[in-house]
Amino acid sequence: MKQLQTWGRTWGPLLGIALIAIALLVVAPAVLSPFRLNNLGKYVCWAIAGVGIGLAWGRGGMLVMGQGVFFGLGGYAMAMHLKLEAAMATGGPDAVPDFMVLYGDGTMPGWWEPFRSGAFTLTAIVVLPALVATVLGWAIFKRRVRGAYFAILTQALAVAFATLLVATIKQTGGFNGLNQFTQFFGYNLYDPANKRMIYSIAATVLVVCLVVVWQLYRSRFGELLVATRDAEERVRFLGHDPANIKLVAFVLAAVMASIGGALFAPITGIISPSDVDATASIFLIAGVALGGRALLLGPALGALAVGFGRTALSESFPDQWTYFLGLLFIVVILFFPAGLGSVGSQVRSRLRALPSPPRRTRTTPAAPADELEVVR
């Protein structure tokens, strides 16, 4: 019995990941229409970013409210390449994207140039967010900015990033964003078979990300990350610099968000500031909170659910759906602070604790003391 439990604890999550893999890679393509599959692909992109948020927020205690920035870095990097591919397909190797002619003077900024190369673009999608997150994270964590400060700071970054995109219309397409792609690394983007391929890539990436965090969570690093979340300063007295530990999680989360964004562009055919701004970032967070931030599969499933919920609610109640969405936020966070993924265990513990349920919801441990605490 005990052995079975241990076995379950180790391999149960892998089984869950396998189920998700089957559902996404085998079942979904078989039963969904091309349009619905493409929609699912979009949610999968959010889920990839969500897995990273689960790592940074759920395990690391860093409420990353600006993941849109990294989602956008990847999304725009990919979109720039696709835009150039589209231009080059019709206008030759020196062609520039159409919008630069429309709103600008028809010249392309130099930093667009390398994105003509697919290899460079793929590298940039990983390296760019990693670099930005390292520099940013280094500065933030070394100065011990955390808790609500960190959350609001990252949110402000998302706002600044989106505003910057809007303000640089001639270089980034501004409010319109980048769209009207035609091909994806040589494949016609409007061919249903190719669309299915891109979907499969996204689903596979999600599964890989889940396996990566599964290993991380069971590793000693995962335990140390939780320790850092619970008592950051205390970790110093185990001989670790908490800034480094947080940095690793933050950078990983950034890279995942970036990859999610990079796949989002070809799947939806567009990336624009409204996909990366503060509101978009909050929706990323919402999925994670809904599914259960500290759980392994919670963030991914939550992100998929929120994506699906947005579509389904807005299709069924196009005029009232924001009410439902608002209520969803409230109900989930209020009643299931550990996410819907934990409803089962929560109900069980409630039942066992009868007859006198606690007067206030105290099912989660008290917030880490330093969320608002001000330390020297």
Binding site: A156, A160, A278, L334, V374
Partner: protein, 294 residues
């Protein structure tokens, strides 16, 4: 000369507006630790209150003055409702309040849209605010001066409340250690409610000032919320002094940036500046230190 005075004076007015919005947050966020993303919608409620007051009392000279206390009550009551219905269950997980209140903010925006329509409603500037005075080349509108006066008055009132009444100590005690405060005879429930009422009420006052700039519309709150939070953070949690300095600095600096570059770039640069600033003073302008690892 006006290249210097215009951003200074206009920025001060913007700063005043930020200050009113941030003062409420300084209470609910700075003192109580609740990250209320619906605070912007309380601002919006204040703006709609002004509109409605003008519908009832058609003498605009009077109605604005009347709108101030009414907006305070309306927004305050909304805040109280929020506290009683939701926030009171969440004091032990401050970061989660952020997400819950995002939901509330969505609800309130949709509600405003359904009640008042998607279009904005007009708010008329009273006669005594009509006009401007020429200050070194800048036609400084009376309305901007009024905003500054309003902010200073709100600040003074709040400052006095915190400093000269036992309420200030109670609120701080409650946020620092709920259980302990309770066992020191502080009714933390009352403190929570009063704080939310006052903090949200301030947003209502801010809403009156905002309505004079842009009338009403259901998305009005979203414009101010993030800047207001940034001001509180840059000012240092729980520090009115810091909030004041941060609000006016952000207002004036943004105005200069706008003048030199553009509005969009000014927003980007101001955000960037706050980020850099937090590098230098990670816990805001005024830091409160304690010992140990807490």
């Amino acid at each position: 000369m006006d290249a210097f005075t215009t951003p200074l004076l206009a920025g001060t007015a913007t700063g005043a507006l930020l200050l009113i919005a941030a003062l409420g947050l300084a209470l609910t966020f700075g003192q109580m630790g609740v990250i209320n993303m619906a605070h912007g919608e309380f601002l919006m409620a204040g703006a709609y209150t002004t509109y409605l007051t003008q519908q009832v009392v058609t003498d605009t000279d009077l109605s604005i003055l009347l709108a101030l206390p009414v907006a305070f009550l309306v927004a305050g009551s909304l805040g109280l409702l929020l506290e009683v219905a939701i926030i009171q269950w969440m004091y032990r997980r401050p970061l989660d309040t952020l997400l819950v209140t995002v939901g509330v903010s969505l609800l309130l925006q949709q509600l405003a849209k359904d009640l008042f329509g998607a279009q904005g409603d007009p708010v008329h500037t009273p006669g005594w605010l009509d006009g401007n005075v020429d200050v070194l080349g800048y036609h400084w509108p009376y309305r901007q001066m009024f905003t500054i006066v309003l902010a200073v008055a709100a600040l003074a009132a709040l400052g006095a409340l915190l400093k000269y009444t036992s309420y200030g100590r109670r609120i701080r005690a409650t946020v620092q250690n709920r259980d302990l405060a309770e066992t020191m005879g502080v009714s933390t429930r009352t403190v929570d409610r009063v704080t939310f009422f006052v903090g949200s009420g301030l947003a209502g006052i801010g809403g009156v000032a905002v309505s004079l700039i842009s009338g009403t519309n259901p998305n009005l709150g979203t414009t101010y919320i993030i800047s207001a939070f940034l001001v509180v953070v840059a000012g240092g949690l729980g520090q009115l002094k810091g909030t004041v300095i941060a609000a006016f600095t952000v207002g004036v600096v943004t105005a200069y940036f706008t003048d030199w570059f553009s509005s969009s770039m000014a927003q980007v640069l101001t955000f960037a500046l706050v980020v850099v600033f937090l590098q230098l003073r990670p816990q805001g302008l005024f830091t409160v230190r304690t010992r140990g690892l807490a």
